[in-house]
Amino acid sequence: MSTKNAVVSLEDVSKHYKELKALSGVNLQLAQGEVLGLFGHNGAGKTTMMKLILGVVSPEFGKVSVMGMQPDDKSAWHMRAKMGYLPENVMFYEQLTGLEVLTYFSKLKGKNKAHAKQLLEQVGISHAQNRPVKTYSKGMRQRLGLAQAFIGEPKLLLLDEPTVGLDPNATAEFYRSVDELKTQGTSVILCSHVLPGVEQHIDRAMIISGGKTLALGTIAQLRSQANLPVKIKHQGLNSDIASDSLLAGFIHEEDSLLVPEHEKINVLRQLLSNQSLTDVAVESANLEQVYQYYLSQKVASSNDVKKDVA
């Protein structure tokens, strides 16, 4: 993918706050209509990366470009109408009604009240549009924030912890709107540390920690890089599994085996050839495990460095 076509492109970007290295040497190319999951724990640099892309802060080193322009440059301001951002914690003007808040933000992006109303409808809080925001529940505030991010059919959406406070129904609804936006060609960066459920909706995942990229790729790529074992649950087999020379080495629990990816098929064949097998289930490592794997790798490598120093 060339830099020109990328909606967001970060080239060797670093951002330091005094001594704190918020980001160092980050590279990323985000294509049109691509959904990227950005994972890392608190203080990993997720928010800094979003601020750089939004043009609120400028990088010390490297180049940030969004839709072919430098987002922190004055000439790029009109482009901001094409970006939507949901901050992690935002307290909207409590004394205003939901509709008033959204109308204010819509107007700043050159849209009108009707647009705001339609968005409130879309996120499902139009019934509360004339109530002050201070009466809203956490979930309703989050929906209002999402409606705010959706103003003006953005080409690029940056969502920081978008599903916090949403109930399972609303979360599903939210992911549906992400999928829909994606088909319309919107690029999305989803920032999260809550992982279940997000896998099916992202094209690529980026794991960062301490301002450095630990991993970037599709979930399948990350999974195979991590080389995490596949869990195979079986039923109906008894002690004869321990006597099997191939299977014995992989025994994890009484009814499950942990098998490296490349041995999966061999092990399955072996299992299926056993007449007493009544059920079998194969579980690849999920995103959570992949995430934990890369984080633990990082800890391991930094321990090595410490040892070297000592």
């Binding site: 901001r80 109408a81 935002v90 307290m91 004394q95 107007k107 705010q148």
Partner: protein
């Protein structure tokens, strides 16, 4: 320009919704009508007093109240939005920092200007109905204009406080101290200087020192044209120094432009 207007509109309606406009207008109206009517009560009469006495009393009142009100109205303008997270969000919008600053200034300044006009205007109308003298309207228009400038100056100073404070409560403390310094301490200091230096301070120096306080400039603007018998204290000395009204108003205007410019500079370099 549209962006500035959108922000100004929101801030103005916030002022309406919070009853700020209503309260300030009522405070100004009650006090100014009261002073206009009962200003002479001390000398044994009730009724309309002379124009210069009225303006002198109103100016001494306004010089305390208007800075306090302007500071209270605007001290949390930026730090409040920063704490709520909307400041960061607004800056990701197609809205420059200067547009946001000017929008807020127009909106909240509009509240101050309107409240001053309505509040003090009420006594002007009262006096005019009694005396049918156009000089009343003229003098009051001048008073209201300069009072508005004073209010705007402290609105700009409040923004400065709001942007350098890290928390809302600190900004509130800062606003209170600022008011105390400009409204009380500064004049006490001037008096101390006058007494302490055995009046070796020239009139010109004194007047120049007074330019360092927008509240004093406002006093000078309004009292300079009056009978000096209605005015006493350090001010009476300064009044005799010849500074034209245009010069004084320009200084007051500078007290709006300079804090706003500094605020804009601080905002530009602020880490978010």
């Amino acid at each position: 320009m549209r962006q500035i207007f959108t922000v100004a509109n929101k801030e103005f309606y916030d002022g309406l919704r919070n009853r700020w406009l209503l309260s300030i207008t009522i405070i100004f109206a009650v006090l100014s009508v009261g002073l206009t009517y009962f200003g002479a009560a001390a000398s044994g009469t009730v009724g309309l007093t002379s124009l210069s006495t009225t303006i002198a009393s109103l100016a001494s009142l306004a010089v305390f109240l208007i800075p306090l009100i302007a500071l209270l109205l605007s001290y949390d303008s930026f730090v409040g939005e920063q704490e709520g997270g909307t400041l960061l969000l607004l800056l990701t919008y197609p809205l420059s920092k200067n547009q946001l600053l000017l929008g807020k200034f127009l909106g909240q300044g509009g509240i101050i200007a309107l409240a001053t006009t309505l509040g003090f205007g009420s006594s002007a109308i009262l006096l005019f109905m009694k005396h049918h003298d156009l000089a009343i309207i003229e003098t009051f228009a001048y008073f209201i204009g300069s009072a508005t400038l004073l209010g705007l100056s402290f609105t700009a100073i409040a923004y400065l406080i709001s942007l350098i404070s890290s928390e809302k409560s600190k900004a509130a403390g800062g606003a209170l101290i600022t008011w105390f310094l400009f409204a009380l301490v500064f004049d006490l200091g001037l008096l101390a200087l006058l007494v302490g230096t055995d009046s070796s301070l020239s009139q010109t120096t004194l007047t120049q020192l007074m330019m360092l306080n927008p509240a004093d400039v406002f006093r000078l603007v309004n009292l300079a044209g009056l009978d000096s018998t209605d005015v006493n204290g350090a001010l009476a000395v300064a009044i005799n120094a010849n500074l034209s009204q245009v010069q004084l108003l320009s200084v007051l205007l500078a007290w709006i432009v300079i804090p706003l410019t500094i605020t804009s500079f601080i905002f530009k370099n602020k880490k978010l």
